[in-house]
């Protein structure tokens, strides 16, 4: 059990492959680049959100505001592009700036006022949703040639699958997150903070800076997810993306990250997203199952993965006396 922390990740990947194999066994047409491309495109915004959520959860916190931030970003972009003549790229930068700042402020409140992340981000969720309402209560269509151009970008794979730009953005975000988490000091601090805030501080980790940065990353990525979502739907709607935070948390948990923080991988989150997307694709292919089965199956999956992690924890802690030598090496 030298790499016991990676075992949940392997199990998640294995689950995904097994589930995909079962799907293909029933519907051979699911083995096509079209399905894979759609899986990536349809879950792009959720994936980007889940990356930010992984950072937060790894540090032992939680961010309930991401769904509202996505809706706000979408409405913000739509309203700005409708009422002003600034270029979408400038609007993107503005949106990212606002959402990153919003996340940073939440992080600062959490750290300096010593309030639980759950409550602070809950208030943030109300605030962002409210701001989206203030901007517009109706769905605002986005009609801009730059948007059309961005949407028309894709790489056509053999087999007819179209890997669109937003799928590429998601993959890039996942890659970037892996590099940041495993190759930078900030990434180490995230893990350290999640392991134990007190120990991290004694080791010289700046808790204030790390906490603020973590929530800023989550806010900024939620903003990016909002941009991707607006590219995906070509509209901004204040009621969009309700409950995305729960999907993101579920994906992170299915991906094998401990909600207590300190243990987990971004790659796991990726496969968590893919498993959830696969369930939806399966229901579409099947055609007779109702949409509520998605929720029930995701609930069951969540439960299974939590129990699995519990079981693993028991097995590994039971082996600590004998495995301590090998644990020290790894």
């Amino acid at each position: 059990m030298r790499h016991s922390t990676k075992l949940p990740l392997y199990i998640t990947i294995a689950t995904f492959l097994l589930a995909y194999a079962l799907c293909i066994a029933q519907f051979p047409s699911m083995l096509s680049t079209r399905v894979v491309a759609n899986l990536l495109t349809d879950n792009a915004f959720l994936g980007i959100t889940a990356v930010g959520m992984t950072f937060v959860i790894l540090s032992g916190g939680i961010d309930l505001s991401v769904g509202s931030v996505i809706a706000f970003t979408g409405v913000f972009l739509a309203v700005v592009l409708r009422d002003t003549s600034i270029h979408p790229l400038v609007a993107f930068v503005l949106a990212l700036g606002i959402t990153t700042l919003f996340g940073a402020v939440m992080g600062a409140i959490i750290h300096y006022l010593e309030m639980p992340p759950f409550i602070v981000t809950l208030a943030g969720m109300f605030l962002m949703r409210g701001l989206a309402y203030v901007l517009s209560t109706e769905s605002v269509p986005i009609d801009h040639e730059f948007y059309d151009w961005l949407q028309s970008l894709y790489w056509k794979a053999p087999g007819g699958g179209r890997f669109r730009l937003i799928a590429g953005i998601m993959l890039l975000v996942f890659l970037g997150a892996m590099i940041v988490l495993h190759r930078t000091r900030f990434g180490r601090n995230v893990y350290a903070l999640g392991g134990s805030a007190q120990t991290a501080q004694l080791m010289g980790v700046s808790c204030a800076r790390s906490t603020i940065m973590i929530y800023a990353v989550s806010g900024g990525l939620a903003g990016l997810a909002g941009i991707v979502f607006s590219l995906y739907t070509s509209a901004g709607y204040s009621l969009a993306a309700v409950g995305t935070e729960l999907d993101a948390i579920a994906a992170v948990v299915i991906g094998g990250t401990l909600l207590t923080g300190g243990s987990g991988f971004v790659a796991g989150t990726f496969f968590g997203i893919m498993i959830m997307g696969l369930i939806q694709t399966y229901i579409v292919f099947d055609g007779t199952l109702s949409s509520w089965w998605t929720k029930i199956v995701i609930g069951i999956l969540l439960f299974t993965f939590i129990m699995l992690q519990k079981g693993l924890a028991w097995v590994t802690t039971g082996r600590i006396p004998r495995a301590s030598a090998s644990a020290a090496q790894s």
Partner: protein
Amino acid sequence: MIRATLRRVAPQIFILGLVLLLNFLLSPGFFKVEMHQGRLFGNLIDVLNRGAPVALLSIGMTLVIATRGIDLSVGAVMAIAGAVAASVVTEGSHWLVAVFAALGAGALCGLWNGVLVAIFRIQPIVATLVLMVAGRGIAQLLTHGAILTFNDPGLVRLGGGTIFSVPTPIWLWIALALIVGIVVRRSALGLLIEATGINERSARLAGINARVLLVAVYLVAGLCAAIAGIVVAGDIRGADANNAGLWMELDAILAVVIGGNSLLGGRFSITASLLGALIIQSVNSAILLSGMPVEFNLVIKALIIIAILVIQSPRIKHSLYLLRASSGTQPPVERPSAPRRRSAGTERITEEGRT
């Protein structure tokens, strides 16, 4: 006893008074209560009546949060209970049977959460997330995705009727609060719950059966959610699996937090949580009465909540305490260097020091 409670809930009463005063300024007829066709009408009654679901939920939530837990599933349990009640009653059973079936479903959900938390030692937030995600699906399964409507007078009366000209939901939440309050405060149960929340390990070493206590607490939360679900279903004469109790768990948690109960467990006050629920409802009513564009509702609500929370945050409380103490004796607690984790202990000590 009463004096101590009053001192404990003084900030909440003050905030509630402030919000009610704001309501009164916005609409001078706010406190007028009239009698129409044997039913009391008035804005104040509306606050008490519309606040009933959150008030009911906050009773169970207070106990759960006191054990250092959290129950995210109550909204979904409301949907399940409503769906069960509606489907039993539409099959022609007596409404009492439907109520008991719904309560049973709620108890079952609570038991599931409790077992996950107490026996399998899963973090409460994750354990209840499972039911939060799956619960709404189960409710939709029960209603086959449609809104199940019913016209049974008994069930409708629970949500929209009156007893002695006061709307039934008001009776329900006051009665439930009294029952739970008497049970936990007139016995050692409340103390045991607080002990479990402060330090489960030492509570267990002291001979408290923390496991049973935890399961019982989630069971009560499930029952409270079931009652709230019946009330909501009775009110709209139908079970809406998609929207019944949607995001109400968040309101309930907010009510408990506005009530000054720490999310880190320990000392709790059901009265304060109920006042928190009424504060939330009064804020809603004030926003409605102000005639502001509806779009601003959520922003104003968020800002008011943030203000209340910041005032109550451990850091600010501590500074206030230091300010007060600096004029007299030395403060008994040093500021801990480590953030968050240890602040729970400090807060508790300062609280005790003050009361």
